[in-house]
């Protein structure tokens, strides 16, 4: 092989198969040839065998969490709407019942919020145990 510049040698090796022993006429050619072979070889190591399955499981869990959150919010909305309607109806029939509900509004509100928080924490704990290594 005629003597080539660095750039010519690199371009030649990009577009041609690896050089044979007889073509490795000087140190530079030999080094470039060995370098290109090494660069094209995959390094050791890799991802775990079940990587794809783990990623899919993770994505599914996130999607499920998102749709369940929407479901909880919708349930809470309908519950509040139904409760408000019930209170309004009770109020129409009797002022005493309405006053009783309004006096205990913080306790009733705390119970509803506490219930939702417990549900959410339970969901989180279940999922964290599911992905625990």
């Amino acid at each position: 092989m005629k003597k080539m510049t660095d750039e010519e040698l690199q371009q030649w090796l990009e577009n041609n198969p690896p050089l044979t022993q007889s073509e490795l006429t000087d140190e530079e050619t030999r080094a470039y040839s060995a370098l290109f072979e090494a660069l094209n070889e995959e390094p050791d190591g890799g991802l775990p065998f079940d990587f794809a399955a783990n990623v899919t499981r993770h994505v599914q869990a996130e999607a499920k969490r998102g749709s369940e959150l929407k479901r909880y919010l919708m349930n809470a909305f309908w519950f509040l709407l139904a409760s408000s309607a019930a209170v309004a109806l009770i109020g129409l029939r009797s002022h005493d019942s309405t006053n009783l509900l309004l006096q205990n509004k913080w306790i009733i509100g705390f119970c509803i919020i506490g219930f939702c928080v417990i549900q959410g924490l339970d969901e989180k704990l279940t999922l964290s145990r599911l992905f625990k290594k």
């Binding site: 690199q10 090494a38 070889e41």
Partner: protein
Amino acid sequence: MFNEREVVSRILKGDMPAFTLLVKQYERLVFHVINRLVKDDDDVADICQEVFIKVHKSLERFQFESKLSTWIARIAYLTAITHLRKHQRQRTDSMNEDIENIHFTTEDPETLLNKKQTAAYVDQLIKQLPEQYRTVVTLYHLNEFSYPEIAAITKMPEGTVKSYLFRARNVLKSKLEVYFKNEAL
């Protein structure tokens, strides 16, 4: 035969086995990019997972303006760069670093006698190059992207990609020349 459009269409309809297929198709690509850019081996699998989660979330915005592999490689590259920026204590990697004068810290290459060891030695050297050089070498040789594709992934001009690749190979070649000279003595 992996049909990009068909797989993407199925994933967007909620077909999770199709997504698993996509991950299996491109996990090596993503691993090569992340493994070369991120120096902490413990983080590699987590970052690869993060890449595919981002792929899943963004898939509906992918309009086949490029190959799916190019798009995924771009996400992997950006995720790796974000990780590097967050965790770098010292800015040892810099685009402006003088690659010709870089100081490599490696084991004595006189012990490397065969091709497998040469490849491992070259891999060690590559991990010490500045991040832009590591990226173009990996994308070109391991992932077999073309110059225009690498330019699209890294948002570097094509001329810069070629220049970085040429300079990185030149520096690596010089290290191997020293090794072969020592072997001959």
